[in-house]
């Protein structure tokens, strides 16, 4: 069988890659996709712990994470479409209006 720490290490690697995408990429779309990657790595952790400690709550939390992610993507892409319509840019460092 696969030891538990293999799954956790995979989730750590995916989380770091997703965080790199969020922090380093310039394109807003790719930043949103990296956010999906972050949430998926957390889901792997939830389900792995639920499996190895025989607890259904891991899978239930993963279902809720998936539902909230769907809502988040819908709102984020709506904001993105409105942003492109108003400012016509996809670069994340052009949208610093709230920075003061």
């Amino acid at each position: 069988m696969v030891p538990l720490w293999w799954y956790i290490s995979l989730a750590v690697v995916l989380f770091v890659i997703g965080a790199a995408g969020v922090l380093l990429r310039r394109n807003i779309l790719v930043v949103l996709m990296s956010l999906e990657l972050l949430l998926n790595s957390v889901n792997i952790n939830f389900i792995a712990f639920g499996r190895y400690y025989d607890d259904f709550r891991g899978q239930i939390f993963a279902i809720f994470v998936i539902a909230i992610t769907a809502a988040e993507v819908a709102v984020a892409l709506g904001i993105l479409v409105a942003l492109v319509r108003n400012k016509s840019t996809l670069k994340i460092d052009d949208v610093t209006t709230m920075k003061g």
Partner: protein, 166 residues
């Protein structure tokens, strides 16, 4: 057997995740992300969570990625392809990421609680039935709240993306 499959799917997931972050074209990123979600759903199957694997494919590959591809087609992504990464001063972010990864791996290896080699034997019986009983009996209120959140997000997305004509 299980270890070989895990290494295969994990390698596929990591390679496609790197492709998501490194690809120049957002369409390539979206397709690589779709492949990554498929690998992760295979890992869910290895974890004996078949319902989650199917939900992963339906929701992520079926709905979210199609939404991404529609938005990519709606807006012009060509000018965004010219520059991949934020200009200059990437060193603090890289150091932070390295620190984060090393810290998490060190904690995982240091602690003895994650070295469980064998999962506890499952209780037996129909896993999906037990899961849905738990979900709809003990977690009924969070389930309803999640449905209200989805409804609010639906309405919010329509309002945000609508033209300003009135």
């Amino acid at each position: 057997m299980g270890q070989g499959f895990f290494l295969l799917f994990a390698a596929g997931a990591v390679i496609t995740a790197l492709t998501v972050v490194l690809a120049r074209n957002p369409v390539h990123s979206a397709l690589a992300l779709m492949a990554c979600f498929l690998q992760i759903s295979a890992i869910f199957v290895l974890l004996e969570a078949p319902l989650l694997a199917v939900v992963q494919i339906f929701v992520y590959v079926g709905a979210i990625m199609v939404l991404f591809l529609f938005v990519i087609m709606m807006i012009d992504v060509r000018e965004a392809m010219l520059q991949r990464f934020l200009p200059g001063r990437n060193l603090p972010a890289l150091v932070l990421l390295l620190l984060l990864g090393v810290e998490m791996l060190a904690l995982v290896f240091w602690s003895g609680r994650f070295s469980a080699a064998e999962p506890i034997a499952p209780r037996g019986g129909d896993q999906v039935r037990q899961l849905s009983t738990t979900l709809f009996a003990d977690y009924l209120l969070p389930f309803e709240v999640a449905s209200i959140i989805l409804l609010a997000a639906l309405v919010g997305a329509i309002v945000l993306a609508r033209k300003e004509s009135g």
